[in-house]
């Protein structure tokens, strides 16, 4: 017994070093699980507050660019107004009601919630964006986030007033995508090299891809609505060891000057993910 105490006393420094190292590694390896505990409401609000102050200062420098983006988005949305289209058939429904469900059985699936960006990194391997909108304002974990030019990421945690978004520029980010031309699906990932370019993987070699083709979100995603802009094809290489292309995609979103984004709430998200995550009964 005496020897044990002697041992502990002698190697006290080293043992406490090991203890702290193990604590750090455990925190890191359970990152997805500890995330919520680690960024518990209080801490999140504290860093969020600092980020907010910084963002207030920072936003003045990109006012012009934000303005341009908003004006462009406005113009694009105006062009999509139902009033611009001549309906050939009077039975066609031109306006979607804002209620959740109307008498014809149309229901609202997606709701767009605007949010201000108060924290953003692009230089790390794991980049997150902080938004000033939380669970009290309707943001939930798993919701999709789009910017004025294209998709931005997915909400990974939300406290009362602040939420944190896993940016597309995150090594673990994965979004289902497709080529606009022939609807071949693949997945968008990031290789950590260049914040202007993403990787489109798992696109079959039978797809006809050209440089400059548009890449959109696919129908297969639970959180992203389909046909949202992701980017354009910048380079194509065929992976000789598999049947898939490896496509370099220039992001439509400029991650360097994000100011305002929209969080997309899918009314059927919980239902879809619950069903998809249930193990199939048939062998």
């Amino acid at each position: 017994m005496k020897n044990i105490f002697f041992f502990i006393r002698r190697y006290f420094g080293f043992l406490s070093f090991l203890l702290l190292q193990i604590a750090a590694i455990i925190l890191l390896s359970n990152a997805s699980k500890t995330h919520e505990a680690f960024f518990s409401a209080a801490l999140n609000e504290a860093t969020g507050d600092l980020n907010h102050r910084y963002s207030n200062l920072h936003s003045y420098f990109s006012l012009k660019e934000t303005n341009r983006q908003l004006a462009e988005e406005n113009a694009r949305l105006r062009n999509m107004l139902a009033a611009n289209f001549q309906a050939p058939d009077s039975s066609r429904k031109a306006v979607t009601d804002t209620t959740l469900r109307d008498t014809l059985g149309h229901y609202r699936k997606y709701t767009y919630l605007p949010a201000r960006v108060i924290g953003n990194t692009v230089t790390l391997q794991t980049n997150f964006i902080t938004l000033e909108r939380g669970t009290l304002q309707g943001v939930k974990k798993g919701m999709a986030v789009i910017g004025p030019d294209g998709i931005v990421g997915v909400v990974v945690e939300a406290s009362n007033n602040i939420s944190r978004v896993m940016s597309l520029l995150h090594r673990n980010s994965k979004v289902s995508a497709m080529l606009k031309k022939d609807n071949y699906a693949g997945s968008i990932e990031w290789d950590g090299v260049n914040p202007y370019y993403l990787q489109l993987k798992n696109v079959s070699k039978s797809a006809k891809v050209n440089k400059g083709d548009t890449v959109l979100t696919s129908n297969y995603s639970a959180n992203f609505p389909s046909h949202l802009m992701i980017g354009t094809v910048a380079a194509i290489s065929a992976d000789p060891s598999s049947n898939f292309y490896l496509i370099k995609v220039k992001t439509a979103t400029n991650f360097f000057n994000l100011q305002y984004v929209n969080v997309i709430a899918n009314a059927r998200y919980a239902e879809q993910t619950a069903l998809e995550n249930t193990p199939s009964k048939n062998p």
Partner: protein, 177 residues
Amino acid sequence: MSSLVRNIIRYVLFILLQVFILNEVPPLHQFIVPYIYFLFIIWLPFNINRLFLMVLAFVFGLTLDAFTGTPGLHAAPCVLIAFIRPVLLGLLIPQETTEQSYAEPSVKSMGLAPYSLYVVILTFVHHFYLVLIEWLQFGNFIYFLGKVAGTTAVSLLLIALAEMLFPRKRRYKTNAA
């Protein structure tokens, strides 16, 4: 200004500098990430308790992690350099009474060559371990080597600049103290 107050101010400033300035720098290359926050640990006083130093480094690393969203990623290398620091200082400090007359490691208190060696080794160890953890999560070997080299070089440059901008010369401990 007492040593405690000075170090508290440094703690806050280094975190803010790293989070709001260096992490916002547009990336020149994937290997080049400017890190300087760990200079806080390098500059801590000589006479700090070893256990306290490690706990402080752990908390300091976690503070940065709170901003970058990676629990433990920066805390682990910080604890490692805090563990190595006393050993390294024991080896590098001239065996005279310099330790008594200066409060913290600097060019003036240790001499240019030992101090540079001290900074280079701790910087390298910090980045080696940090990138190693990143590499184990994702990435390839070239990425690992390139990023350790690139990041270390940039950090050393920044530290050299910091040393020139803020020469910490007048750190005599008076005999009365």
